[in-house]
Symmetry: C2
Subunit: 222 residues, 2 copies
């Protein structure tokens, strides 16, 4: 297929949340556990905010989730340390397959975009820090509709921006619930199953499953 654009989820798909453990290591001897709780709670609050109809932006929820995670892991971090650790979302490292995959897609004439739960500010900073700004034509953020994925209004940002039906847009995500939500909406979904997780058993199935983003150019050319 020749899609109008190939749109990527940002955190967990292009950028590796686990890389926050480096910065978190200054505060705890088990930074991976802290980061796992932090991410889990960040998403739980995004879902809760959407269901309750009480939007706060992703930076605010990230800070709230860190506060919860610190308590869960028995850490007493001062306000300044929190701020510094929260700001690390602007410096999350890209997965190793990302630069090559985006370069291959650009060389073959595909337009690449991002659709993220993150705020425009944090998403732009993180893309710049990862050296990916030039590869991404547009970054669409849930902040303009004030609900989080997998709400249909979020995926509709992509169809509205590109002015084509959902089936003409490829959406790539490593998050299973994001893959089923986007597939329910009608996007052509490629699930990058980085965690080697079982397939989700609720919601529409993705059109394709890959284990690394560098498989995608050949998949689209086929």
């Amino acid at each position: 297929m020749k899609p109008k654009a190939v749109i990527f989820d940002l955190f967990g798909t292009l950028l590796d949340i686990a890389s926050l453990a480096t910065a978190a290591g200054k505060f705890t001897r088990d930074p991976a556990a802290l980061v796992a709780t932090w991410r889990e709670k960040q998403l739980a609050y995004a879902f809760a905010a959407t269901i309750m109809g009480r939007y706060e932006d992703f930076d605010a929820l990230t800070d709230r989730a860190l506060s919860f995670a610190a308590q869960r892991h028995g850490l007493d971090m001062g306000d300044r340390a929190w701020e510094a650790l929260g700001a690390e979302w602007e410096r999350v490292r890209p997965f190793v397959d990302v630069p090559a995959a985006l370069t291959l897609l650009r060389e073959r004439g595909y337009t690449c975009g991002v659709l993220t739960n993150g705020t425009p500010k944090t998403a732009a900073a993180a893309l710049a820090s990862a050296g990916l700004t030039a590869e991404i034509e547009t970054t669409l953020s849930v902040d303009s509709v004030r609900v989080y994925k997998p709400d249909r209004r979020v995926y509709d940002l992509a169809t509205t921006h590109y002015g084509v039906p959902a089936s003409e847009l490829v959406f790539v995500t490593a998050n299973g619930w994001d893959a089923t939500g986007a597939a329910e909406f009608g996007l052509h979904v490629i699930w990058c199953n980085r965690a080697q997780a079982p397939a989700e058993t609720f919601g529409a199935a993705p059109a394709a499953v890959v284990s690394t983003l560098t498989e995608i150019p050949a998949l689209l050319d086929a």
Copy 2:
């Protein structure tokens, strides 16, 4: 305060989901891990169903979540075994503090109800199996509004049923996200912090926190 009714969440608050491990022990050497994944995914699917606007009832989501959990834990259960294990939600055991707490509340003239994500059928069977049917005046299920907690429409079932403002109803739950959701709606929430978890850092705070349900009668009389 003298509330019009004291309304309890069912699964996790009156009934102990961990007790499913007994039945799950026939299929795996680590039944607690299977049950933990099962419950986590059951809730994740309830949240996703609500956000995607694609309702399926809780029995269906419970079966889907079990299918996912079995794969995650490398179990190959036949269809019949699945059905038998799924049906165990009708026989989840009550927490040890429940009979005494409900009896104390009844003796002091409080009306008790249930507000649950579960289906009417499974909730009724589980209450009967736990010997609690006579203590519960009404069981309200999300199935009539086709969205899950913490959607406001669920909590509104209670105000509609009892015909009073939310502030005149006590809601008791052990789930942090349920406590904040109900408090956002305006119910007088008592969070029974069975898991000794940190307080949630997003959403309205509960009016009170207890560690066991038997603390509640004295709390309401005060």
